[in-house]
Symmetry: C2
């Protein structure tokens, strides 16, 4: 796609988004089913395009994990289409009434959920991420600007072609999708702050951090996931062992796997030898501080380990003398993503839950629960460590903003400015919004 065509598409995307957002829930869901059907019917075209990307990747000797993420085969297709149909079945995030207040007689205020507008999606290699985010945007009435990695260019182009063709008979069409196909730097999309309302990056930590550091567009995501687990002096050692092993070993390559273990000195000599044994099936490499090294054989912890996200079978262990020391360590070294405590003392747990300022703070369970699906959010847009807009696992609500509707019968401000009081009666939130026709 040439520069000229891209600019034209970007100029019409806001109009297209408005048309999309004016569709009924049923119409948006029907579009999702249409897309899923089309992807299944045109599967071979997508597989062929993916083969082309994979051939180039092999010629360029790309790293194995990257190649693995690049594959789009029958399994990925089945999963992607099931995902689209799941999104279609979710409740509509648009039009939900968040606040409803009678300001005075016949003067009704409503705050209702509306789409954000234009979502920018930047992703490395994985073509299935394109389908997932596109489905979430369609569900929530948002337009989308896509910018994929150059290694998946042919697959992404074919996916977008199939989706465009599927929507060509639809009255809204596919102008709400803009695919930036140029092989130019990602820098291009980062400059679109007058067009894109929210950026969602998917890729490595370095990739996400680069994006966060180089755009004025709000970013939903997280660069680091340095999670800590604190074993309190009053804790069930069996529980501590099971939860530590799950948090570290169940799937270590992800952001909610534990990287730093803090152990209270009074339980260390009892806990650590048993933990070392429990870690054996995975050959977990232990970096311990001096006091840990007095109890178990381990690698000496360097200064850097406390700030390292291993993303593998490797862990840093430190002995602490108090809850306060644990909280301070997490505050200083953590990434404010997910941190947990094991304790049988409720007051200790409450202090930890209150004072650890992370997106997810857990008590007596695995850090691996930090996930939109496990939280029951239905769909996961991403996990955010930002404090503004959305924090932690983010569902479709993260693609939604609100607007205020006020309906009266001719009320003016003048009498209220002269002292007429408001009634301000909070009303039931059930029922359809002012803007919707009764069904």
């Amino acid at each position: 796609m040439g520069k000229h065509k891209l600019l034209k598409e970007l100029s019409t995307i806001k109009t297209a988004q408005r048309r999309l957002s004016n569709l009924s829930t049923q119409a948006r869901n029907a579009m999702l089913y249409t897309i899923a059907d089309a992807l299944e019917q045109q599967a071979q075209r997508i597989f062929d395009a993916n083969d082309r990307d994979l051939q180039i990747a092999d010629q360029e000797n790309i790293e194995l994990p990257l190649r693995k993420r690049l594959v789009f085969d029958q399994n990925k297709l089945v999963e992607a289409c099931a995902g689209i149909r799941q999104v279609a079945a979710l409740p509509d995030p648009i039009g939900r009434v968040r606040e409803r207040r009678l300001l005075d007689d016949n003067l009704l205020l409503e705050r209702v959920n509306v789409p954000i507008g234009v979502i920018g999606m930047i992703f490395e290699s994985r073509p299935d991420a394109l389908i997932q985010i596109l489905a979430l945007c369609l569900k929530s009435g948002n337009a989308i600007v896509l910018k994929g990695g150059r290694e998946a260019l042919y697959t992404n182009k074919e996916l977008v072609s199939v989706i465009r063709e599927a929507l060509s008979d639809n009255k809204v069409g596919s102008e709400w999708i803009v695919h930036m196909e140029s092989r130019e730097d990602v820098q291009e999309i980062l400059q679109l702050d007058t067009i894109i309302d929210l950026l969602i990056p998917r890729g490595s930590n370095d990739f996400v951090r680069y994006i966060m550091d180089n755009t004025k567009i709000p970013v939903l995501g997280h660069a680091d996931g340095l999670s800590s687990l604190y074993i309190d002096k009053e804790s069930d050692i069996e529980m501590a062992l099971t939860v530590t092993v799950d948090s570290k070993c169940q799937y270590p390559a992800v952001c909610n796997a534990v990287e730093t273990l803090l152990v209270h000195n009074t339980v260390a000599s009892q806990f650590l030898p048993r933990l070392k044994k429990a870690f054996e099936p995975w050959s977990v490499i232990i970096h311990g501080d001096e006091r840990v090294a007095e109890i178990i054989t381990c690698q000496p912890a360097t200064v850097a380990v406390w700030d390292t996200e291993f993303l593998g079978y490797e862990i840093a262990i430190k002995i602490v003398d108090s809850l306060q020391e644990a909280i301070d360590h997490i505050t200083y070294h953590g990434s404010a993503h997910t941190d947990a405590i094991i304790t049988s003392n409720k007051a200790t747990a409450q202090r930890f839950l209150r004072e650890v300022d992370s997106a997810d703070v857990f008590w007596n369970c695995s850090t691996r629960f930090a996930d939109g699906f496990r939280f029951g959010l239905g769909a996961e847009v991403g996990i955010s460590t930002q404090k503004i807009h959305a924090r932690g696992p983010v569902g479709l609500d993260g693609l939604v903003t609100s607007k205020w509707l006020l309906a009266g019968d001719g009320q003016i401000v003048a009498p209220y400015a002269q002292g007429k009081p408001f009634k301000h009666i909070d009303m039931d939130l059930d029922g359809t919004s002012l803007w919707k026709e009764e069904e």
Copy 2:
């Protein structure tokens, strides 16, 4: 304050914020009452400092509106202290449970409101804005970095001194307040994106736009307030007149006063002559398009008037041929702040409420209702035209983010990863959060 001292204060502000946020509701409210009492007791010191600022302002011949905003006298003090005590009486925005879900037996998830962290406040001239935002931050457990205009330097310094002295006996003290006193460029605070989580600017449109364009910190606010009112073909002409006059004339210097009036051609000849007469007491200057000029005497509208925020007794009037034309005009020329329709046709109103993508969209009432106090939000942090985080009039909720708490009895992810289903039962939101001790 020297650069060295400033850096030291900024390095401790996050710790101070955590101490503040760990206080009970009662303790934070007590601090608010202490501050109000102290401001009243030390009033003369503040008035003297204000006199000094006013003398300098007079020597420098500053503009009258700016001088007016700079005055901090007995009236302003009474208002400011009443404001602080009102904030103290509001419900605590912190600790409210937003979601509560039983993921499985004895595995309880809660999403609770917590402070954002460090709020940056940049304001021109008005010293009472300092007191208001400081009170809102204290109420919501946020630290604050203040940067006032140089014209109010002595007043602001004295206000902060009085507040610091008042809190000196308090166990948390006043380290959660940092006052940037240097006369250097506002640029300084805009760079603090690793320290400040949210910026709230208060001042002229140009001032706010400059801030939005020159920082990576999220900004809560609005630069422009170009509000439009559309008089539909099916509208009660008496209501249309009353609402138009109130929206324009009740207080024209503010962001929610109407600037552009769109009138359907079928009612124009009936409505416009009466409107012109109704505007006479305020000598409202009318800029009309060619078709308006055929009906009433007016100034010919230039291309620029449709993008002008007059902020005075001046209005641009355009005749349109359809609801669609009105919506398109608002979408293209408006500032997405507050727009309204007068119509007796419910379907027309619903389309307007749905399709106009502004923070506030009103039906049959004055645009001047767009205000946190009128909306019943208790306190107003500001009005935001951003879509991310908060939109429209923002109450204390705008100074709040959330975190997820999960409490179990040793649950691990492994069995769920192998197919064990979650229960995901939504629970009653009433009652205290996991982190709070029962009272």
